[in-house]
Amino acid sequence: MNRMRTLRTVIRHELRTLIADRSLALVCALLVVLIGYAFYNGMAAAENRDRAVAAVLASERQAIESNLETLRRIQAGQQRPGPFANPANPATIGSGGAGRYAVVPTIGLAPVAIGQGDMIPNYYSIGYGSKVSFMYDSEIESPWNLLNGHFDLAFLIVFLLPFLVFSLSYNLLSSEREAGTLRMLLSQPLDLATLLTGKVVVRATAIIGIAAIFPIVLLLIFRPEARGAEQFAGAALWMALVTAYGLFWFALAFLVNALGRSSAFNALSLMACWTLIVLVVPVLLNLAVGVAEPAPSRTELTNRTLAIKAENLRRYDQLFHGDYNYVAKPDALLAKDGRIEMPPRTRATFLADRDMDANIDVLLKRFDDQLRAQQQLIDRLGPVSPAVIAYEGFSSLAGNSSRRYLAFKGQVDAFHDHWRAYFVPRILGGRAMNEAELRSLPRWTWRELPNQQTRGDAAWRVALLLTLTVLLLALGVVKLQRYKVA
């Protein structure tokens, strides 16, 4: 009880000192400005993705309308169908004429981390062509931006927050000792642990409070999607993760202060820890993951793709050399009694694409499996760097993690198969598309990753960081026993 009262006195005193020398205010102001800039960037990235989704969905609706309109005009004899642009022809519709897209929406928390969102597209145009013709697309982004990385909240918190922590707390005890005030303080009924705790609590509350709360306030103001009760758990976990990560660095500062060395030594050792944890270990880990679970060879994939393609061209050689007869027989382009003539080359292309996917699936799966294996390895090795734990957690809560994009690709793959299956009887059986079918083509729906999984993962990361924090604090308390005041 007595100790709690002392702690409160320390905190009050410390707060007064920090306010008087303006250092806390300065660091907090800097943090606020940086959060504003990082949030702006994250927000812009999320809005770009939202715009892309809105644009493809609008073009999809437009395509449906224009197909229906063209079909009506053709049926009324007002327009002649083209050989490759005829809504009654399932080949036109199935191969892309339907303007169908598969999209993955951004989530409310998207602005907090850009993650992989600048590289992997959030929409694919769906046709029954082979997946090798559309699944490799990537978003257009300036190579410099990709190389330099974005200044988003994840970067700010993972890379820069620790410095703000250090700048306020590298000399908590050493400065008092160097100024000769530590002896005086300890002549009062006050022990070192209480003194150090009080000093850390004041700083941690201010810094972590701003870092965890201010971005969420901005999010609630500027992003209506983040306001639902659904999003609340995600936001709370994000705040918990920021708090745990911030506490980890304060605990490290606590430990270094407890060693009882000079201010300069403290500053240098904190800097060394930062360099190792944030800069060196992640790049080494990235390297190690690449060596331990190397991505399969894209060159081999490319060669295999071409070999399969060549094989298919040979297999359907006769069909590929069949001719179009609509010049001699213009009626061939018109649907009659629900049937339409399928030129041999159309059938050949359809079959070749189908065979391509049947053969290439195994190879493509290897890439996704490997990426999954890399991710698992990182999750296993992650604890060696709290920076990695936090960074991956932020991406995942923001819905911009590798895992979510892999899931998206998996679902697109399944939808693509479904789309093609829909057209098999129509292409091979020569069945024409009618108005009702054009309205009721297979639709894409995105199934979000189970919330429990994302949240469970984030909670585990918080627990991991808190465990590391407690370990550092415990070590710090032990070291304090041997602290030499003089």
Binding site: N48, A52, R80, G82, P83, G115, Q116, M119, I120, E139, I140, E141, S142, P143, W144, N145, L146, L147, N148, G149, H150, F155, L160, A264, A267, L268, T275, L279, V280, V283, L284, L285, L287, V289, G290, V291, A295, S297, R298, T299, T302, N303, L306, A310, L313, F320, H321, D323, Y324, V327, A328, R345, Q370, L371, Q374, I378, E392, S395, S401, S402
Partner: protein, 465 residues
């Protein structure tokens, strides 16, 4: 006396453990990065040249078939790995390496290695260049932050000055100590990278590589020397070593971590990159608009492949469409790539504010891994695609069009395929890089001179004891 000052500082670096520990880490990272990079690169390069030969063989062995079908098969071309990619991977992880040359449209380079990697990639790729750009300045700060400040704190500065040691000589001596330590640490790694690059260079390119290495040496020399003088200047201005350390760390964080991101954001804000969807729409719209004109002029119809165009004109129609496409692609891709290059140019000059950007851009250029060289490869690949298209449509006009409605029953003689030469892409020489990136050299030289001037001004006027 110069040597005396320098050797005293050097001895201190070693004695207090800064040089062995911090330096040892840097050396270790440098060697690891070089070794791993070299193994990966050798494997990739061997695979790519084998892969390209394989596809070309498949092209030659197509037998008698319709040329359009041959163009549908197409071929893949692979960007050769520049030997110095082992030093600096540049934008390579983000731009891909493979183009499938197919009929109908200009391909894009696919398979960005970064897409096959996890989010961890964004912490940075461990390359020797990264170590030099990011960690080496930090090493210089750790070694040099108290160069003047500790002499002041220990009272030795007063002594030295009272003995009449010229402050400038003190500056040169301390700079020499820092330069010697950095060289000592970085030289073995540099020699290893250089040796590996020369060893893996294609025949006849060894001289080019050596010149590139020398230019890289100059670029990084200017960059790190600028860092040395800046560190010494700050150390001389600040009253205590603590303030010096914090100021220098702040400069490092802003200059190395924040500025590149901020400046590339600014570059994109000034020269916006189109989204994929806008770009694809622009290409499609222009293609539709121009092809309408072309088809109207040539065949009297408004839409492409209008059923009224007889099959006896499909050979010529293919050519007309292709040629229209070339113009559209040249303009649209050209505009996109110009945007990227304008972003780059902006960053180069912004290097004056954050030299790490200047050295990064020069380093990529000299290593052959920058965007200009990617663009050059993309253009070469598109030229090869156009050769294929021309051979195909030429043959169709001559041999298939006369067959009238039996266009697709035509089969070309297998000797036709050999009219398309094997794709050769000799890597650009160093002149290519220097012609585009001389501003970075100028910026680095200016930064170096400025930091020397700053350090001299500080020690001769503001070196308080």
């Amino acid at each position: 006396m110069l040597r005396l000052i320098a050797s005293k500082d050097l001895r201190e670096f070693i004695r207090d453990g800064r040089l062995p520990w911090a330096g040892g880490l840097v050396v270790l990272l440098l060697v690891t990065a070089a070794a791993v990079g070299w193994f990966q690169q050798t494997a990739v390069q061997a695979e790519r040249s084998a892969g390209q030969a394989l596809d070309y063989q498949a092209w030659l062995n197509q037998g008698a078939r319709h040329p359009h079908t041959a163009a549908d098969q197409g071929m893949n071309v692979f960007k050769p790995e520049p030997p110095l990619a082992v030093f600096d991977t540049g934008v390579q992880p983000y731009v891909g390496s493979t183009i499938w040359l197919q009929s109908h449209s200009q391909g894009e380079v696919k398979f960005r290695p970064a897409q096959d990697a996890t989010g961890l990639q964004r912490f940075g790729a461990l390359t020797p260049a990264w170590v030099l750009q990011v960690l080496a300045p930090l090493l210089i700060i750790i070694l040099g932050f108290n160069a003047f400040a500790s002499e002041r704190e220990g009272g030795t500065l007063r002594q030295l000055l009272s003995m009449g040691v010229p402050t400038r000589r003190l500056l040169w001596g301390k700079a020499l100590a820092l330069a010697a330590s950095v060289t000592l640490l970085l030289l073995p790694g540099a020699l290893l990278v250089g040796g590996l690059a020369v060893a893996s260079a294609p025949a006849g390119a060894a001289v080019d590589i050596i010149v590139r290495l020398a230019a890289l040496g100059l670029g990084y020399g200017l960059y790190l020397s600028a860092a040395i003088f800046l560190v010494l200047a700050v150390s001389a201005i600040c009253r205590t070593s603590r303030v010096a350390l914090f100021s220098l760390l702040a400069i490092w964080i802003v200059g190395v971590l924040i500025a590149p991101k901020g400046i590339s954001d600014l570059a994109v804000a000034l020269h916006p990159t189109p989204s994929r969807i806008d770009f694809a729409k622009a290409v499609r719209d222009e293609e539709n608009a121009t092809s309408r004109e072309v088809w109207l002029k040539n065949f009297g119809v408004e839409t492409r492949w209008d059923p009224r165009v007889p099959l006896s004109k499909w050979g010529i129609a293919l050519r007309v469409t292709d040629h229209n496409g070339y113009r559209v692609y040249d303009r649209q891709f050209g505009a996109l790539w110009d945007t990227f290059e304008r972003q780059q140019r902006f960053q180069e000059w912004a290097g004056l504010a954050a030299p790490v950007i200047a050295v990064r851009s020069l380093s990529m250029a000299l290593s052959g891994t920058d965007f200009s060289q990617h663009r050059d490869f993309s253009k070469a690949a598109e030229r090869q695609r156009r050769i294929i298209q021309e051979v195909v449509s030429d043959d169709l006009i001559k041999n298939a069009d006369p067959l009238g409605n039996r266009h697709f029953s035509y089969r070309a003689n297998p000797s036709l395929w050999a009219k398309v030469p094997e794709f050769q892409y000799p890597l650009p020489r160093i002149g290519f890089a220097l012609a585009r990136h001389w501003p970075s050299v100028a910026v680095l030289a200016a930064t170096f001179l400025l930091s020397v001037a700053l350090a001299l001004a500080v020690v001769s006027r503001r070196l308080s004891v």
